[in-house]
Amino acid sequence: MITVESLSKSYRGFTAVDDVSFTAHAGRVTGFLGPNGAGKSTSMRIMVALTPASSGSATVLGRRFADLPDPGREVGVLLDASAQHAGRTGREILTIAQRTMGLPRGRVDDMLERVSLTDAESQRRVRHYSLGMRQRLGIATALIGDPEVLVLDEPANGLDPAGIRWMRDLLRGYADAGGTVLLSSHLLHEIEVIADDLVVIGHGRIVAQGTKAELLAAAGTVVRSADTAGLTAALEAAGLSPTAYDGGALRTDADPSLVGSIALAAGVALTELRSADGAGLEEMFLELTADTQREGAAA
């Protein structure tokens, strides 16, 4: 379990993390979602004691990270897969972790196998690794101590689709076995398919958090008809405020059954009626983080 309470970090004239509080529970995958520069990485660095907080606290398994006696055996951390000495071989990097934690030597081969790095690949220097291979090596380093908690910053970056699938299954299995997983991403779809709980951050502040089901439920309905004008009028007459969505469809905050009844009563034939689902979450993500997006206001 990871508990973050009122965490803030200010640099001269700039607040990178602003009063962030959330809990990542055991047995669940918590997705930490936000656009680039939202403060995800800074928050994670504070959690693992690489960056001092300006105020607030972060505890892992009930203790400050710096108070963990042998952190690698309780918390697996992957903050940046490229942050390795380029002149070491992958095997050597794992061996250093194995020795620091005093683990049996065989763990290195176990981990290489678990992340599908071949023996030949493990003998190559990290300089020659692709980003995907570095991510696999980083995951292996995080897992080698058999920790209860995983803290992973953008672990899917650089992985191919099969690799992303693999990562997802691995983290799912890990959480199902009772582990705590906190992973960050700036890509909604990536996190949507794996996370149980979501923490959405923008501009250093938490803008939404809850279970994925809750956040999806709040997302409303997508409805489509050949008679868009008639449908709009009927929905507005019923007191809803539909907005244009994705090429001729409408989106409202009401649930699908209400929207269906209104359309039936108005005699408008529908061609599509569904819960806005992930699409709604995406819209929420874009809305919530609109002012921090470099593209400016999201359409």
Binding site: H25, A26, G27, R28, R45, V48, A49, L50, T51, P52, F65, A66, L68, P69, D70, P71, G72, R73, E74, V75, V77, L79, D80, S82, A83, Q84, H85, A86, G87, R88, E92, I93, I96, A97, R99, T100, M101, G102, R125, T141, E148, A156, N157, G158, P161, I164, R165, R168, R172, A175, D176, A177, G178, L187, H189, E190, V193, D196, K212, A213
Partner: protein, 275 residues
């Protein structure tokens, strides 16, 4: 980067709070393990390996050069020691610098300091490992020089001349350890490989020259120089004549140029952000 969207959604509900039994807290990482790992990290890259190997190689080359080029009456242990000592005096501080700065320049510190969050323990281990490697290297160099001296004497047909006392040898070892500490200090202070290496050359070649010039041109500095010029103060160690005053001068100059900046650097390392 694209994301697979065609896969079926993964079940997200009904996960038990925790199916794992509460686990015992592991014991604290012992210092011996940290020390062993830091020692290993000095050898396990190509650059680290060759840097260490170059100490042995240059010792052999320098010894060979003395045998080949020095006149017969100069085949003395003092000369072998001097020839072997010059490359070592430059290489050892580099080893100390890189053992610290690679954590920042190569960013491996992200892993190192999450596995051992008490940075002072890592830094201490690095210091002990670096000095250990330094002393061991000097023993190798002393041995190579001694073999060279024997070989040179055999070639020239003279008796081998052992004209360095054990005390003098200890002074030279101390001077080299101080050189490593300077490298270590620059490492923790600058935390960038390129910056610290440049800093080292400024520190040991530019500053002494400026100090000489100042002493030659400003009368007030001439007497002061002995007390504030660390390089100058270390000269007595290499010469082997350490008087009480020389120790005091080494102390004051060392305080200014080593102890104070080392304290500042250690503070920075312990507090700074690791990115």
């Amino acid at each position: 980067m694209s994301v697979v969207t065609t896969v079926e959604p993964i079940r997200t509900t009904g996960t038990p709070a925790s199916t794992r039994a509460p686990r015992p807290v592991p014991p604290r990482t012992p210092t011996s393990r940290i020390l062993g790992v830091e020692l290993r990290k000095m050898f396990d890259t190509r650059s680290g390996f060759w840097l260490l190997a170059s100490i042995g190689i240059t010792a052999v080359l320098a010894t060979g050069a003395v045998i080949v080029f020095a006149p017969d009456d100069q085949i003395t242990y003092d000369n072998f020691g001097a020839a072997v000592g010059v490359p070592i005096a430059i290489l050892l501080p580099m080893i100390a610098i890189l053992s610290v700065t690679s954590e920042w320049s190569q960013r491996s510190g992200l892993t190192t300091f999450t596995l051992v969050p008490h940075r002072s323990r890592v830094v201490q281990a690095k210091l002990v490992a670096a000095i250990g490697v330094g002393v061991a290297s000097m023993l190798v160099a002393v041995g190579v020089g001694a073999l060279g001296n024997l070989l040179g004497a055999a070639i020239t047909g003279n008796d081998a001349v052992w004209d360095i006392s054990a005390t003098h040898m200890a002074y030279i070892v101390l001077a080299n350890v101080l050189g490593m500490l300077v490298g270590f200090m620059l490492g923790v202070l600058i935390r960038s490989s390129a910056g610290a290496i440049v800093g080292y050359f400024v520190y040991s070649f530019v500053l002494p020259t400026l100090s000489m010039l100042l002493a030659a041109n400003a009368a007030w500095f001439e007497d002061l120089q002995l007390w504030v010029d660390f390089n100058f103060a270390q000269g007595a160690l290499f010469e082997g004549d350490m008087t009480g005053e020389a120790w005091a001068q080494l102390g004051t100059a060392g305080l200014i140029w080593l102890v104070v900046p080392l304290a500042v650097g250690l503070r920075l390392v312990l507090r700074s952000e690791v990115k």
